[in-house]
Every structure is written in C-alpha cells, then in structure tokens.
C-alpha cells in the first residue's frame, strides 16, 4: 500500500487544552478520505499540522514515505500539500488569475498570459467552472472555493485538504464539487475532506477516519459503514455528568415560534421554516453542529435578524398570557424591555455584549443607561449589581472597576451571564455559555440556569456538548441545515438519537410534538 501522508503518534496542545492526542492516521494515494468528528474533536487542528499552520508538539509526519518537517504553508506546498480553509484567502479586488499569481515562487517568470494559460489548462482538465478574468468580489461563494482549489492545484498539490467544503454550498454546488473531487481522485490525487455531514461522507469518500475529543477512534471503509455505525463512533458512549435538573413545574407557554425563516447576506436560507414553543419553567436545549442556524435562531428572537415573510415569534408576557405580543418587526431594545434576554458567548468572548476596556460596573451600566434622571444616568444601581454578581457568582477580579478584558475567560462569562440573569428576564437565551470554561465553573453556570428555571423563567440553552444537553435540558430541539429536525425529551433520548438528528436531515423535516 502506498501512502501519501502518514501521521505517527501526533499530539498537539494549546495551553492546557489537548487538541490532538496521540493520533496515528494514514492517507493513501489516490483516495478520498473523510475526516469525521463533532465540533472541537480536533479535525481542523490535525489537518493544519499537515498544511504547515501548526507544528505538532510530539509525533512524526511522513509524506510519500519520507519523514518531513512542515513548518509553514510554503513547506507544505513544496511537498505537494494544499489546504482549502473555510475562510478563503483571496484578495477581493483581484481577478482570479491575479490571485493565483500572488505569491508564486520568484523563480517562476511573472507572465500573466502564461499563468492564465496554465490555469485554464487546469480548469479544463478537472472541469472547473471558473471565469479567470472575473474579480473575486463578483464571485459566488462556490466560485471562490473553486478558485482556492485551482490555486492549490496550480502550485502542484497532490494532496488536497478541504475543511468543511460543503458548509457554504447549495446542494447543486456540492454535487459539482464532488464531481471535481472524483476527477482529482482519478488523477491519482489524495483528497481529505473534513466534514460532519454523514450522507456526504457516505456518498463521496472511500474511507472514513473518525476523531472524538482529539483522539483517533479508527478508520473504516465507506462501503462497510452505515449512518448508525458512524454516529456511534463519532459521539461515543454516554457519560454521566450528574448535572442538577429539577422537574419542570407549572410550565407556561412563553414563546411560540412558527414558520421562522431567515436568509443570510448571500441569500442562503440559514433558518428554514422553524416552529416550536418554549415554556417558562423548563430548559429547552438547542443542539446542532455549529453553523446550522443556532446563532441566527437566537438573534432572530432577540430582534437582531431580519426574518422572512410569514415568520412569527409570539411572546406571552407574564400576566398577559391571553394576548401574546408579536416580536417580528420590533426593535431589539423593545424585545429586551419586554423581558427576553440573550447572553451570547462568541468565539472571542469580548466580541459581543461586553466592552473589554470597561469594568464590571460599566458593563452592567450598558444595559441600563437609559434609567436614572436624564441626562445623568443611574450609576448606583449598576454598581450594586456588579458587587452582587461578583459575590454570588464568585467572579475573581481585583475590583469591580478592573477592565473585564483583564479577567480570565470563565470570569468574563460569569459577568455576561450574571448580568442577564440579574435583570430577571422572562425568557433567558444563552449560547455557548460554558465555552472554554473549566468543569467547576461550568457546573456553576448549569446550576444557575436550573435556578432560573425553578423561578419560572423559560431558558433556552444552545450548547455543544451532547452529554450536557441531555443531562441539563428538559427538551432538546435539534437543528440540521437550518431546519428543525426534531424535538426530543432530554430524560428519554439517547446520544445516538440526537447525534443522528444533528447530522442527518429527516425527510420532510420535523414534526412538532
């Protein structure tokens, strides 16, 4: 068996976090390999080590049988390895050819006509559909991706790594991409596709390698695999967490969402005809592979997304249950004032909701600056609130006036969640509230959410860890491709069931229970 790339006992850590642990993986020549795993299972990190973005802490990499050191993307190119990242590295105002010419070896003559001819040849050979004199900003996402692939091939890559290539494509574009990938395979190139869409794995790849929480689980031939067997390998056995979960009492309908549809900037549907209800006194979990509409769903409820016609979000205010309020078309501020709060933890914690250079007091003030006798704002309240949050949530900070950017991630998150809870909302939405937190702090947050639930708040919890979702939530709405793929009971469901719903769109969508 000839191998294009072999990884032997590769380990990579970022600080205390182990991204890849002792991974050994072979990639054969002329095969299409799918790299499958949940969010944060270390797929992209592993591939970045082959592409020269990261350098492994331990272990060896062999290319075509010889041990190599890949220190930079350039080294990778020289070994015939090219990676197409999720975020394209293209210059908007350049044409396709200019982007290809950018950064070519100095030894190659700078002759645009020759470069254009060679590019055209590659396009013809693999049937790429690309207008070479088109500017990048006029291209669709799919065309940009095509350009990235051509760019890599132009530099002589024999091993191509595609990081979630279909995430941004329409089904037709995906079909065309697969055709191109097959053409490349027939040309004896090795293609690795990082993905978590099971039906695509089964359709395109020869073999599937599975990672779970940074560890290599194994590889199977696609012809021997089924969706169920792959899901099992991907999600693994259920881990008992003993998260405190009280029984829901006196649940009252708070939110009723029907036919919610949202388009993104590229006019692609990110939320497709979603309908569900959320009740006060329960925690509704939202599960899904990241980027399947979770963020948009919460933002739509909070009034931060433009919804398509026919969408309806009804809110049943406390004491006014008989006359619901339509949230679509209202401003974010109105929705907040009505008692719907969103605590969103983005990848960079300070990106949304908090101002890094301000202290806790200032950040509390952000949500209440309109109070007090104008034009002088009330600062006493926020100060007391900051003190209270600091004490109750055990925020570690020298003083409530220390800029929050100097706090550790976990403490920043406590400030963010604490502020939203303190406002005594009717509906509390949290997204990725425990992202990057250690176990103890995570449990603090779970308990907080459970306390809120006991108070009769309708809690919506968007999370990444399936074990947590199943142990914490009363019901779980599973999103897949922007559609509601089913609602399951947290106490009765299994990890496999949720995993399958996340990766595998049911025909005809979900039936609301």
């Amino acid at each position: 068996m000839e191998y294009a790339v072999q990884l032997k006992n590769v380990t990579k850590t970022f600080g205390k976090v182990v991204a890849n642990k002792d991974v050994s993986l072979d990639i054969r020549k002329g095969e299409i390999l799918s790299l499958l795993g949940e969010n944060g299972s270390g797929k992209t990190t592993l591939m970045n080590m082959i592409a020269g973005i990261y350098y492994p802490d331990e272990g060896e990499i062999f290319v075509n049988g010889a041990p190599v050191e890949i220190r930079s993307p350039k080294d990778a190119y020289n070994l015939g390895i090219g990676m197409i990242h999720q975020h394209f590295k293209l210059i908007d105002v350049f044409t396709a050819v200019e982007n290809i010419a950018l950064g070519l070896e100095k030894s190659e003559k700078f002759d645009m006509k020759a470069i254009q001819a060679k590019t055209q040849e590659i396009c013809d050979r693999y049937h790429f559909d690309l207008n070479l004199s088109q500017k990048v900003y006029e291209m669709s996402v799919s065309q940009k991706q095509t350009l990235e692939i051509v760019k890599v091939l132009y530099r002589g890559a024999d091993i191509l790594i595609l990081d979630e290539p279909t995430a941004v494509l329409t089904p037709q574009e995906t079909e065309r991409l697969f055709e191109v990938i097959r053409n490349m395979k027939n040309d004896n190139k090795s293609v690795i596709i990082i993905t978590h869409k099971l039906h695509e794995v089964l359709e395109i790849s020869d073999r599937v390698a599975i990672l779970r929480k940074g560890e290599y689980i194994g590889a199977v031939d696609t012809k021997d695999a089924t969706e169920n067997s792959l899901t099992e390998m991907m999600v693994g056995k259920k881990v008992e967490l003993n998260i405190q979960r009280s029984e829901p009492e006196n649940t009252v309908k708070r939110l009723s969402i029907s036919n919610l549809t949202v388009y993104n900037k590229e006019k692609v549907k990110v939320l497709d005809d979603i309908s569900f209800d959320a009740y006060g006194g329960e925690i509704l979990g939202i599960a899904g592979i990241s980027g399947n509409g979770q963020k948009e769903l919460l933002e739509a409820i909070a009034g931060l997304q433009v919804t398509a016609e026919g969408s309806s979000i009804r809110f049943y205010e406390r004491g006014k249950e008989s006359s619901p309020m339509e949230l679509v078309g209202r401003t974010p501020k109105k929705i907040r004032d009505a008692g719907i709060h969103l605590a969103f933890v983005p990848e960079d914690r300070l990106g949304m909701g908090l101002v890094g250079s301000m202290g806790m007091t200032g950040n509390m003030l952000l949500k209440s600056y309109g109070r007090g006798r104008l034009p002088i704002t009330d600062t006493k309240g926020p100060k007391q609130l900051a003190e209270r949050v600091k004490k109750e949530l055990e925020v570690v900070t020298p003083s409530i006036n220390t800029p929050v950017s100097r706090l550790s991630g976990g403490n920043v998150q406590k400030v963010l969640v604490g502020r939203e809870i303190a406002e005594e909302p009717t509906v509390l939405m949290t997204a990725y509230a425990v992202r990057g937190l250690d176990i103890n702090t995570s449990y603090t947050i779970y308990n907080l959410l459970d306390e809120e639930k006991k108070k009769g708040v309708a809690v919506i919890y968007v999370g990444e860890d399936l074990d947590v979702l199943i142990d914490l939530c009363d019901r779980i709405l599973v999103l897949c491709d922007g559609k509601a793929n089913g609602i399951v009971e947290g106490r009765r469901t299994t990890k496999e069931e949720v995993g399958l719903l996340m990766t595998n769109l049911k025909k005809g969508g979900a039936e609301n229970e």
Binding site: I91, D92, V93, E98, L102, G103, K135
Partner: protein, 330 residues
C-alpha cells in the same frame, strides 16, 4: 485667450507640486498605510533641498547648476524618506495609530523646517538660492520657443514637471503590471492573505512608505526651488499644499494616471479666483476669492460622495488602509 494661457501656465506648475505629493501618498496608501504626514514630509523635502543647495551655492567657489540639482534632489529625497521611516517605525513596528502618527509627523516636519530655517534666514523674512532655482526652472531648449502657444503652455516648465508625468506612468505600470505591484496591492488590501501567500508584509509596508515619502518630498522641493523661485520664506504655504495632495489622492481614486490630469485640474481650480473673473470680465470682492480657493476641497468632497454612492470596488481605498497588521498567532 492670453488669459487662458496665463491660467494654464500657472496651473501646471501648481499641479506638479501636489502631483508629486499625491503620487507618493498613493504608493504609501497602496501598502495600507495612511500617512497623513504628507505636509510635514513635503516640508522636510522642500527645506532639505533648499538648504543643501543654498549652502552649496554659498560655500562652493564655483557652483554648477547640475550639481545643485543632484545635491538638492538627493537631500530632499533622503530627508523625506527619513520622515517616512519615522512613520513606518511607529506604525508598522510599534503599531501606533496611523492617523495620530501622521498628524504628528505633519507638525514635526513643519517644525523642523522652520526651526532650521531660522539659521538660514538669519533675521530676514526670506532667503534665496538663485542658482538652484535657475537650474530647476530651466526650460527645454528649442521646444520651449519654436511652437507658439504649444511651446508656451506645454514646454515652458522646469524638468520636474515632465519627470512627474513620467513617474505617474511608471507607477501605473509597476502597480498594475509587475509582481512587485501585485504584491504591494495585496498587502494593502488584505495583509493576512498576502502573508499567507509568502509575501513579507512588513518589508513591503516599510519600502512603500519610505519610497512614497521620498516622492512626496520632491513636491516640496519643486515648490521651493522652482515654483517659488528658489525662495525660502516663513509661510505656511507648503502645509496647505500637502493637504491638497492628500485630497488629490482621494480624487484620483488611488490611480497614478488620474493624478496627472487631476493635479492640473486642481491647479486650474486653485487659480480660478484670479483668472475666471477677468475671463468673464467681472470684478469680485476679496472674500469671494477665499471662497473660490476652497473649490478643490469641495470637488474632493463631491468625488468622495460620488464614489461612495457608486460603491465600485475598484474606486475604493485599499481595504486595510489605516489598519495595523497583526499576524495571527500560530
């Protein structure tokens, strides 16, 4: 007719000053650096050029015109590149805010020039370098006399006027047709992508900013030794010209070829107040004159409004203009 010719003869040298200034700034901005120190750099260039040729004339027993030109040009370019180097070091290496640094550089350049100017002026209100002026303002033989109106309007200027035009064409070619130009534009548009493509972002930014400053500085030199007839005086005129050069960069939509006609148009507009009334045969009050002198700036604002409305990507400033580049942690 003679009025119109006189107008053109005024406008072209004026345009040449700001053409140098803005061509330098175009090169700088193409690398993503917004250097608002152009006026200061033009001061540095103008003063260094003047001072070096002044002392050469004064100290040399037998001063020659062509040596004057070489000395003045080298001094001007070196001094203004030094200004560019200060800006580069602060904004690229130390990642200081570009706007603040640029404005500081403007004040700095003006201050340096005026401070050292005191020693040359030595109490008088102006001082002259006549030989250098003669060398810089020397008209082309033959062409400047034989073709009537054309000679008067096209060939009656010092050599730097033609250097500016040639430089604009060269810059256009380099920016759009060479590897260096492609790399430079990539750095200004998206340094992250350029970095990933193996381009040395820091090197390109430094070189473009320093070379750009050097070109801008020639504008200051041309102003003092040709346009202003070799006279150094304590006026703030160069600063106004520097800002006009910055405005011209926007007017050209960052394209050197547009700088040629744009600069002459600005020149015409600047001298509008003197020639238009007499062309029309009317008299205007002096306060109207000041209003008319604002026209180039008004035109720039209109251009900004128009290009913002049309949103054509090609006419926008380089995408990362004014932003410091942080390489992502690997």
């Amino acid at each position: 007719m003679s009025n119109l010719i006189a107008w053109i003869i005024r406008a072209i040298p004026f345009g040449t000053i700001i053409m140098f200034g803005s061509m330098g700034e175009i090169v700088t901005e193409k690398s993503g650096n917004l250097n608002l120190g152009v006026p200061g750099i033009m001061y540095l260039g103008g003063f260094a050029g003047f001072a070096s040729s002044y002392y050469y004339e004064k100290l040399s027993p037998d001063p020659k015109g062509w040596i004057c030109v070489i000395i003045a040009l080298s001094a001007a370019i070196l001094a203004s590149m030094f200004g560019g180097l200060i800006f580069s070091f602060l904004t690229i290496t130390l990642r200081a805010n570009q706007n603040v640094t640029g404005l500081a550089l403007t004040t700095f350049g003006q201050g340096v020039a005026n401070f050292f100017g005191v020693f040359i002026l030595n109490g008088s209100s102006y001082s002259a370098a006549p030989l250098a002026n003669a060398a810089f303002a020397k008209k082309m033989p033959f062409l400047s006399s034989k073709f009537g109106v054309i000679s008067k309007t096209v060939f009656s200027y010092g050599f730097l006027v033609y250097v500016a035009i040639i430089l604009a064409v060269v810059l256009h070619y380099v920016l759009n047709k060479t590897r260096v130009g492609l790399n430079l534009r990539a750095v200004g548009e998206n340094p992250g992508t350029a970095d990933a493509a193996g381009i040395n972002v820091t090197k390109y930014k430094y070189l473009a900013t320093c070379l750009g400053a050097g070109i801008s500085g020639i504008g200051g030199l041309y102003y003092v030794l040709d346009y202003n007839q070799g006279i150094w005086a304590t006026t703030g005129q160069i600063e106004a010209l520097g800002w006009l050069a910055v405005a011209l960069v926007i007017f050209t939509t960052w394209k050197p070829l547009n700088a040629i006609w744009g600069a002459y148009l600005f020149g015409m507009l600047y001298w509008l107040y003197q020639f238009l009334p007499s062309l029309l045969g009317i008299k205007v009050a002096s306060y109207v004159t000041d209003l008319i002198q604002m026209v180039p700036y008004v035109v720039t604002i209109i251009v900004l409004v128009v290009i913002s409305f049309r949103k054509k990507k090609e006419n926008q400033p380089p995408e990362s203009l004014g932003l410091s580049y942080f390489r992502e942690e690997r």
